[in-house]
Amino acid sequence: MTNKAGSGQVMVKLDGLRKNYGTVEAVRGVSLEVHRGQVVVIIGPSGCGKSTLLRCLNLLEAPSAGTLQVGGRTIDFGAGHTTPRGRDLARFRARIGMVFQQFDLFPHMTALGNVMSGPTIVKKMRAAEAEAIARDLLAKVGLASFGARFPRELSGGQQQRVAIARAMAMAPEIMLFDEVTSALDPELVGEVLDVMKQLATDGTTMIVVTHEMAFARDVADDVVVMDAGQVVEQGPAEDVLLQPKNPRTASFLSRFHSTMSERKG
């Protein structure tokens, strides 16, 4: 699967990206490249800066320094540089889909309304057209008949699938997933992972933060291991997961290895 890396167009490129919250250095110089159709999984211990990195990618947080390139657009951060604002910022974000741990569906809209919200509100698409797209996507995530339900009438897994469809409806160049299964009961995790696997198979460019090692192993092209705001190891999934070179990675993964073997046991 690693053949995808290196080939194809560069979709996302980070160079020395940093993010400080006051004196806290959440991301401390991350450089990364993601190519069209690639699936990159980011793992690492809690608080190592995974979420912050994703949020910097679509400028939900303004990076403190470094360079960010998404599609054709290159943005420099730090002293002397101005970051996009207003409508420009909104347009930039529209090219990137993001799904969060707490699905954050809009509670006053139906599932269909949620999926249509991006195209109609942001792209000012006609309702009929947006609805066609939304129905397609709901079908794709296995919720064709749930369009009229409100979020509170859906299970967690169903809500998260709607959230994925909502992000996809903007036809983003790249999708970011931040621990999208962590808030779900174990029984419901499978549904969501299946949808994500399908997206990967369809060739969606994806950056995924997850604790689901089986998913990482099966779907990821590259795995990036972070610790304390930095990338400590990076490479093809099999290599990183099964023969980690960095001792930190090894110790982090050992917990999962033991769980897996315990469950095997």
């Binding site: 939900l60 909104a90 090219r95 990137i96 707490q102 954050d104 809009f106 992000a167």
Partner: protein
């Protein structure tokens, strides 16, 4: 001699009462709406965390919240012509004090309603590429408005009663009408009790509706 209650006198002023009722309702609706608009605009502006925006707004809110409405009305009607040589018609001057008073409370209610919406909603809207205006209009406000209704109704109830301060500028609202009828009939107990009943008849359905809304938000 035991007091002899006599409500018949009160009823003989029906025409007056209706006019007073009309004035009270008109001023209440007008100033509540005006205050609402102020609250929406200023409450929204407070979200921009620039000092030069928030400081004057806070100053406005606190000055109007922490001083008696009576004095505010006196100021707009009597002092403005003296100080600024701005001559406002009575209905406007009176309405202005009431409106700005309501506005100061509404600003707080509005801001509170907006920031009560889960941060995730803001984040999800932004991640979809919405501008601030699109997010407010389609995502935040539709949810926030429901939560603003109960405190807003509560304040409107108080506001409707506050219209009685219009007496200082001789605008004949319900309470002022009451005091005229009192000085005509010398029946203050009967008159005031009737006035209270009229207020109650207007306000009770309003609070009932507000607590229905509140229950719905709880769901």
């Amino acid at each position: 001699m035991p007091y002899k209650w006599d409500f018949s006198l009160v009823f003989s002023y029906t025409h007056f009462w209706l006019k007073g009722l009309g004035v009270t309702l008109a001023y209440s609706v007008g100033t509540v709406l005006g205050g609402l608009i102020i609250g929406v605009i200023l409450g929204m502006l407070l979200l921009y965390r620039r000092k030069w925006v928030t400081l004057p707004i806070h100053a406005y809110v606190e000055v109007f919240r922490c001083t008696p409405l009576l004095v505010q009305i006196v100021w707009f009607y009597y002092a403005l012509p003296i100080v600024l040589a701005v001559e406002l018609p009575a209905w406007l001057a009176a309405g202005l004090g009431l409106t700005l008073y309501m506005g100061s409370f509404s600003t707080e209610i509005f801001r509170g309603g907006i920031i009560s919406i889960d941060k995730g909603q803001w984040q999800a809207s932004r991640a979809l590429g919405m501008t601030n205006l699109e997010m407010m209009r389609h995502i935040i406000l539709p949810q926030a408005i429901k939560r603003m209704v109960p405190p807003f109704v509560n304040q409107s109830v108080i506001q409707l009663k506050n219209t009685s301060l219009l007496y200082v500028v001789a605008v004949p609202d319900l309470m002022y009408t009451g005091s005229i009828v009192v000085s005509d009939t010398f029946r203050p107990l009967e008159v005031y009790t009737s006035v209270a009943a009229m207020y109650f008849i207007i306000l009770y359905p309003l609070t009932l509706w507000a607590s229905r809304m509140e229950a719905r938000v709880d769901q």
